[in-house]
């Protein structure tokens, strides 16, 4: 989630991790609630709890603006929870809460980037408070009867006088005490501290009076205690020492005077008279049965969404990366041992058996580590709900987003790279794909558009499909535009739909005349393509004019292990990902065409491809120079292709991808490296990078 976990304070790291998680959860709940025009009790509780947690954690981290925003939202949902039948204007409530979510998200990403979280929150808090007071006002009009819930006491003032239940006076010597207590200045909630003093004393005293009397329910009592101290008078049979030690149980005592007295002071005597009116001799009188139920409910409600987290722990991704790395090396070491040339010619029956067992276990280990890194795509998919919601509001289009197969799992590293491209595709579908309401009705379609986001496993890959039932792509328009730009080399009859549609994946290619806030600037699809190719994926498009468009994004399950062809150049070895290879073949020197600028090309089946000599590209000595003696490997991405000239093909194998060490500068065209069975190192070539390098 967060960039470099190693270097940051663990507390900050945890704060951001948990905060982001909670905010995403919250967003999901809000959007669901808005759609359903209803917040379930569980949802309200969950929202309340999330805001409460964010408020608390942010205050701890001194991110006060986040804490304040969370606090105001917490208040809002506290009110909604307590007054469930209150009229809710869902649109403005959701807008406001989402604005709050955005604010918190923004601040958190600032923090993540090491900037100060200095966003202005006053306006937002003002709006939230306004909404709350509007709700309160309208609620009070509707319910002119006394409010069912409030923290005030419904039973009138008298019930508040608290006089504890006491043991009956015994025959022992009874001593009267007068105690004055002052708490430390910054101890906060003085009234509760005072209450604790009472609570501690109640078992040893036979009667007790204190000022202020209603420590808990009177909002001013903290203030009074802070300024004038807390005055307690009581009678007890226990010793002075025990009184003192009981009183000392309370923390944050600044000053305490304990005096044995013959008579209570006057203020207390005044209280004594009132006591006669309301004396109770059973359990202590705590006022508010009603408040109590509400408060308990406030705390007691539980939700279902957190149940499943019980047996789950969070692990820093870099630890998993390290684990994966080590497992990769174990797999390699295993091969180094069992296939060691020193073993040649030895009788190895027992060894082979043990080696097979080791092999089985390392395979299992590898599978398990891989599976640990797998995450469902649901988190990324659920984010799209928000995009669809915001855009449908702005564009005035009604849209249903259907999500299918969100439990499909892919490697964590891939998930992280999926969000941006998908966001783009969804935006495109909303903006260009779906027609306006009127156009849809005219075309005989339902006014409400539909976008489907689907994920499913397809062999060793995951297929993600973004489908809309909009107007589809205009083949002719795209083809004309492609011709204008000189992209088309074939006659119309030979060019397939797929090829035509793939033109829109090129940089700067937009047939959209209108530039909107969201899309149509001609940047976008090529960025999507690039991002997807970066994670070893590919994009294809299908579309029926007037019916809709389907975009297929194929991504590998993991980046950590790839299928590759190992090739040799001089003494070096390279691995080319199998997914980028179209074919390999031998050529004759005479077939190579020179364009005069030193660029070499070859013609294959009527198409011209650039030739890239790996030994030239990476300045390798003692490599085969003559085209006749080496071999060509054609690599391709969706839009480009080229032929790589190498000495020889060595073999096909699965390799564990390792990042290049930091001290090697990023070399365009190299995706990483892998360690071979014999301990040698093979650089992994990156088709996208090579083709780009060649063009520039």
């Amino acid at each position: 989630m967060a960039g470099d976990g190693m270097s940051r304070e663990p507390m900050l790291e945890m704060y951001l991790f948990e905060g982001n998680q909670l905010i995403e959860q919250l967003e999901e709940i809000i959007i669901k609630g808005e759609k359903a025009k209803k917040f379930e009790m569980a949802a309200i509780n969950e929202i309340f709890r999330i805001m409460h947690t964010i408020k608390g954690s942010s205050a701890m981290m001194m991110f006060n603006n986040i804490s304040k925003v969370a606090h105001s939202m917490e208040d809002l949902f506290f009110f909604i929870r307590a007054n469930q039948n209150v009229q809710i204007d869902f649109a403005s409530l959701s807008d406001l809460i989402l604005a709050g979510i955005d604010f918190i998200k923004g601040e958190m990403s600032k923090i993540e980037e090491g900037q100060a979280a200095d966003g202005q929150s006053e306006e937002l808090i003002g709006e939230i408070n306004t909404l709350l007071s509007q709700m309160k006002a309208s609620y009070e009009i509707e319910n002119s009867a006394p409010a069912t819930v409030s923290t005030s006491t419904p039973d009138g003032q008298k019930a508040k006088y608290y006089i504890s239940s006491y043991q009956a006076p015994s025959e022992d010597q009874v001593t009267k005490y007068c105690v004055q207590v002052f708490f430390e200045e910054d101890c906060q909630m003085e009234n509760i501290r005072a209450y604790m003093v009472i609570n501690n004393l109640k078992d040893i005293v036979s009667e007790m009076y204190h000022i202020p009397m209603d420590v808990i329910d009177n909002a001013d009592s903290s203030e009074i205690i802070r300024e004038e101290g807390f005055l307690i008078s009581f009678s007890t049979t226990v010793s002075y020492a025990e009184v003192e030690s009981t009183l000392n149980q309370t923390a944050f005592l600044r000053k305490m005077e304990i005096n044995e007295v013959t008579e209570y002071p006057d203020q207390i005597k005044a209280l004594q008279k009132r006591k006669e009116i309301i004396l109770e001799d059973t359990e202590p009188v705590y006022c508010p049965p009603r408040t109590e139920t509400v408060e308990t409910e406030r705390e007691g409600e539980t939700t279902t969404t957190t149940n499943r987290q019980q047996n789950i722990i969070s692990v820093a991704v870099n630890k998993l990366d390290m684990l994966m790395d080590i497992v990769g090396e174990i797999v390699i070491s295993e091969a180094m041992v069992t296939k060691n040339p020193d073993l040649a010619g030895l009788k190895l029956d027992g060894f082979s058996k043990a080696a097979r067992q080791l092999r089985k276990l390392t395979d299992e280990l590898q599978d398990i580590v891989m599976s640990i890194r797998m995450m469902p795509v649901s988190m990324v998919f659920q984010k799209m709900n928000r995009i669809v919601r915001d855009m449908s509001k702005k564009l005035g289009k009604e849209v249903d987003l259907e999500i299918v197969g969100e439990a499909t799992e892919v490697d964590k590293n891939i998930i992280d790279h999926l969000s941006d491209p998908l966001m783009h595709l969804i935006r495109n579908a909303m903006d260009h794909g779906l027609e306006s309401k009127e156009d849809r009705v005219d075309a005989g379609k339902p006014a409400k558009g539909k976008i489907t986001l689907e994920a499913r496993n397809a062999g060793g890959e995951v297929l993600i499909i973004v489908r809309d039932d909009g107007k589809g792509l205009n083949r002719d328009k795209i083809l004309n535009k492609a011709r204008e730009r000189g992209l088309v080399t074939k006659p119309d009859s030979e060019i397939t739909d797929k090829e035509v549609f793939s033109y829109i994946l090129l940089a700067g290619f937009s047939t959209n005349e209108q530039v909107t806030e969201f899309s149509g600037r001609g940047v976008g699809m090529d960025v999507v393509t690039k991002n997807i190719e970066k994670i070893g994926g590919s994009i294809t498009i299908e579309s029926v004019f007037g019916k809709g468009t389907e975009i297929f994004v194929k991504i590998p399950l993991t980046l950590a292990i790839i299928d590759g062809i190992e090739v040799g150049v001089g003494k070096s070895r390279y691995t080319i990902p199998t997914i980028s290879i179209r074919e390999s073949f031998r050529m004759n020197e005479k077939d190579v065409i020179d364009d005069g600028d030193g660029n070499e090309m070859i013609m294959i089946r009527g198409t011209c491809y650039p030739v890239l000599r790996i030994h030239r590209m990476f300045a390798i000595k003692n490599a085969i120079e003559n085209i006749d003696n080496g071999i060509m490997v054609m690599i391709e991405t969706d839009s480009k292709a080229a032929c790589l000239f190498v000495d020889k093909l060595i073999g096909e194998q699965q390799v564990v991808v390792k990042a290049l060490p930091k001290y090697i500068k990023k070399v365009e065209g190299i995706a990483g490296c892998t360690i071979l069975g014999d301990g040698g190192i093979s650089l992994i070539l990156d088709a996208t990078g090579i083709l780009e390098r060649q063009l520039s």
């Binding site: 663990p10 507390m11 945890m14 704060y15 991790f17 948990e18 905060g19 969950e46 309340f48 709890r49 409460h52 947690t53 408020k55 608390g56 954690s57 205050a59 701890m60 001194m62 923290t151 910054d186 101890c187 906060q188 909630m189 009234n191 509760i192 209450y195 604790m196 609570n199 808990i216 149980q249 309370t250 923390a251 944050f252 705590y286 408040t291 109590e292 408060e295 308990t296 406030r298 705390e299 007691g300 539980t302 939700t303 957190t306 149940n307 987290q309 019980q310 969070s314």
Partner: protein, 119 residues
């Protein structure tokens, strides 16, 4: 060394408390993310002190205090609360909690409260 069980649904608060307490010579023997887990862990670990959040899913802190107290009358539980939750803190103390800490808390105050607890 006093052995502490930390109960809070926020990982962040658990971590913060853990770091603070460990620095001051407490031993953190367990963590729980809701009241139900807290009650179970209390039975397993028999901690000297429990720090207990109030707002939690599954089972809230006050109910957890009641359940733990029913199991062990001598349990030492310190509530971790936010400002403005006086009534709940009072309920917790009525239920048998020994003291409380207010969020956002400072290390000094946390330690002061926990040191007051006689084990």
């Amino acid at each position: 060394m006093k052995r502490v069980l930390i109960v809070d649904d926020a990982m962040f608060i658990r971590l913060t408390l853990k770091l603070m307490l460990e620095k001051n010579g407490f031993e953190i023997i367990g963590e729980a993310e809701n009241g139900t887990v807290a009650v179970t862990k209390y039975q397993q670990l028999k901690p000297d002190i429990v720090t207990m959040d109030i707002t939690m899913p599954e089972l809230d802190g006050i109910s957890a205090v009641k359940q733990i107290k029913a199991l062990d009358d001598k349990a030492n539980i310190v509530m971790v609360s936010s400002m403005g939750m006086e009534l709940m803190v009072r309920d917790a103390i009525l239920a048998g909690a020994k003291d409380f800490i207010l969020k956002p808390f400072q290390e000094e105050n946390v330690i002061k409260v926990l040191n007051k607890i006689k084990v």
